[in-house]
């Protein structure tokens, strides 16, 4: 990391779903917790997300997914990140994620999963742990 040890995170809304309350309030919570937060805006393609993450030199990409498409989306993003040598960026996911999908997400390389209903504190603690 650079001169500061602040975690830089891109909160991103991939795909066509427009339910952004969760993404926005988590962005506000992470900012209040001292992280540097960039919010992607809606309807982002995975290419756009990778581009923003690279430009902004983030440590973490946080995807917010409500539509149920978290498995295919994460799988594809991880493949793309590997292809572009971005293995050092951690991928985390939040949204409407059934608990039974968490093992599969972790197996494919998602660093942490924060399903709806989890507290800000747990998210922040979980994210800090990734950098211990």
């Amino acid at each position: 990391m650079e001169t500061t040890n602040k975690i830089r995170v891109l909160i991103a809304k991939p795909g066509l779903d427009g339910h952004d309350k969760g993404a926005k309030i988590v962005a506000l919570a992470l900012r209040d917790a001292g992280m540097e937060v960039i919010y992607s805006g809606l309807h982002q393609t995975l290419n756009q997300i990778i581009q923003t993450a690279t430009q902004e030199a983030v440590d973490v990409i946080g995807l917010s997914i409500m539509s149920g498409a978290h498995l295919p989306i994460c799988k594809r993003l991880i493949t793309m990140m590997k292809e572009q040598g971005l293995d050092d960026i951690r991928l985390i996911v939040g949204g409407v994620i059934p608990y039974q999908d968490i093992p599969e997400l972790k197996e494919m390389g998602v660093a942490a999963v924060f399903p709806g209903g989890i507290s800000f504190e747990d998210i922040i603690t979980g994210m800090n742990k990734l950098f211990e």
């Binding site: 795909g15 066509l16 926005k24 539509s67 603690t125």
Partner: protein, 550 residues
């Protein structure tokens, strides 16, 4: 406790209650409260069915007719959706409320790269008229009205609905459709916008104008305070912002030389039922009154029926929890009670499992039964506006009216709704409130049964392994494949010249000032796809850039 702010003394007695809209509630109300507020029966209530309709739109309300139930339905292929429509109708549902998948909502065909993984997921996939013909097969379109939850491409789906009805031998004056068609609220919450604000509003204007002239039984716009509330607005803001959005649409249609009197009767609303019970009831009663007053005094509307605030009061999604999902069954029943006590004309409930999945037939029917129990079993049809005259409810209704007016004035200070959204004023305010509320919920300042405040829960690793009995709705990859195969077949068999001619005519209308609706109907009959029609609009109008939200 609940969504309101409660202050307690050391013994646990409640000292102060402040509702989300900012109203302080007293421990006891009496006649002096109504006197202080200058309450009179004639001016503030009137008989049910009389101006200002605080009590009810109709003199007999549920005595003459129970509410209409419209559970939100649609998933997978048009065939699957058609089966579920028939199941819900066979079980007593008397209107449809159609869900579309995200590619359809965003104007992309099922084979577009951005549609991957989303085809048929959160609603049914529609590419062309063929799919509508399948989805509505054997549905009596002259008897069953359909709400279409579509916004960015609402004009296209309205045209599609008309074309389908015509194919089935109905005339356009027999059918009743209510597309959601509220693009401004999409820009505050829900996010299924495509085009820049001014073009989005123009399309809403086109559809209203067309419905006034050609679709006498259809309601071209359903203004949704609902999603604004879900995004973090207070109940007073929910109504205020919806009314300011309505004014933006009224202004755009009036600018075409059509009098408000000729079209405002076609507006309907979609409002939320979650939150404090009394605050919701007061909200709906105040909203009916304020809408009628506003149309009468500001827009000179005189016909009584055109002053009605008609709509769906239901849903309640934000009130439901992922924790202990079965509690949502009870929560929804109480929300529905609030809707019934407010005289909701049309209703629907979120299903208890929606934090996990698209509702299964079991959970969707459970919602329908909850609504039936209120009407048919426990007595909500017995008498009109049973809470009228309550010192508390009437005082609260007056206070809600004042709060709503205050919130509307703030929007006017910002320069009206269109500007407030373009500049992001509303989005920032609502997101900030949502964040503050969520913090309060987590700290225990607001109490929600089943949610343990962070301060008491310590580290909660059990969350990750928590098991529930929710049965998950399965996403079927074959739906996408089937839609793609159908598209290939469609493109092979349709008349290419009809398609390209109709799309060219549409483009010309979009670039000029012609109403796009008749051109869209022609495109639909020619089997142009949703992606092709929306593509024309994308080329002509461009896409919206969201303002920064913090």
């Amino acid at each position: 406790m609940g969504v309101a702010k409660y202050t307690k003394d050391e013994k646990g007695a409640i000292k102060e209650v402040i509702y989300q809209s900012g109203i302080k509630v007293k421990p006891v109300y009496g006649p002096e409260d109504l006197e202080k507020a200058g309450f009179t029966y004639e001016q503030d209530l009137g008989a049910p069915g009389d101006y200002p309709f605080t009590r009810s739109l109709h003199p007999q309300s549920y005595r003459s007719r129970a509410w209409t139930t419209r559970q939100y339905t649609g998933f997978g292929t048009p065939e699957e959706t058609n089966k579920r429509f028939k199941l819900m109708i066979a079980n007593g549902q008397n209107g449809l409320n159609v869900a579309f998948d995200l590619p359809t909502q965003m104007g992309y065909d099922s084979d577009h790269p951005l549609a991957e993984g989303e085809v048929g997921r959160v609603g049914m996939a529609i590419d062309s008229l063929k799919d509508f013909e399948t989805a509505f097969a054997e549905i009596p379109l002259d008897r069953i009205g359909s709400g279409l939850t579509i916004n960015g491409v609402a004009t296209i789906m309205m045209a599609m609905y008309q074309a389908t009805a015509e194919k089935f031998g109905y005339s356009k004056d027999q059918i009743s459709t209510t597309p959601q068609n509220d693009i401004l609220k999409e820009m505050i919450g829900r996010g299924a916008w495509i085009f820049p604000v001014e073009h989005g509003v123009r399309l809403v204007g086109d559809s209203i104008e067309y419905a006034v002239k050609e679709l006498p039984k259809s309601n071209p716009v359903s203004i949704c305070g609902y999603h604004i509330r879900e995004s973090g607005a207070t109940p007073a803001q929910e109504i205020a912002y919806a009314f300011e959005i309505a004014k933006a649409y009224i202004d755009t249609v009036t600018a075409r030389g059509i009098k408000p009197e000729d079209f405002v009767g076609r507006f309907s609303f979609n409002f939320n039922v979650y939150g404090n019970l009394w605050e919701q009831i007061a909200k709906f009663r105040a909203a009916r009154k304020l809408w009628a007053k506003m149309l009468k005094t500001e827009y000179g509307v005189t016909d009584k029926k055109k002053l009605f605030l008609r709509g769906l009061f239901g849903g309640g999604g934000s009130g439901l929890t992922k924790e202990q999902p079965e509690n949502n069954i009870m929560r929804s029943a109480y929300y529905a009670l609030g809707a019934a006590l407010s005289g909701a004309q049309t209703t629907a409930l979120c299903s208890f499992d929606e934090a996990y999945t698209i509702p299964t037939p079991r959970s969707a029917l459970l919602s329908l039964r909850t609504l039936e129990i209120l009407m048919d079993e426990v007595g909500l049809r017995d008498t009109v506006d049973p809470l009228a005259g309550s010192y508390f409810i009437e005082t609260l209704t007056l206070e809600m009216e004042e709060k709503i007016i205050e919130e509307m004035e703030e929007v006017q200070k910002w320069g009206g709704m269109t500007k407030s959204i373009s500049e992001g004023f509303i989005q920032r305010k609502v997101s900030r409130q949502a964040y503050e509320y969520e913090k309060g919920l987590q700290s225990g300042e607001y109490r929600k049964v089943g949610i343990v405040p962070t301060s008491e829960s310590g580290n909660r690793p059990e969350q990750e392994t928590q098991k529930t009995d929710v049965e998950l709705h399965e996403y079927n990859q074959e739906w996408a494949e089937k839609s793609k195969v159908n598209l290939i077949e469609l493109r092979r068999t349709r008349n290419d010249k009809d398609v390209s001619d109709s799309l060219k005519a549409l483009e010309k209308a979009a670039r000029g000032t012609d109403n796009v609706m008749p051109y869209l109907v022609t495109c639909c009959h020619a089997y142009a796809t949703v992606g092709e029609m929306a593509g024309v609009f994308r080329d002509v109008f461009g896409e919206w850039n969201e303002p920064e939200f913090y």
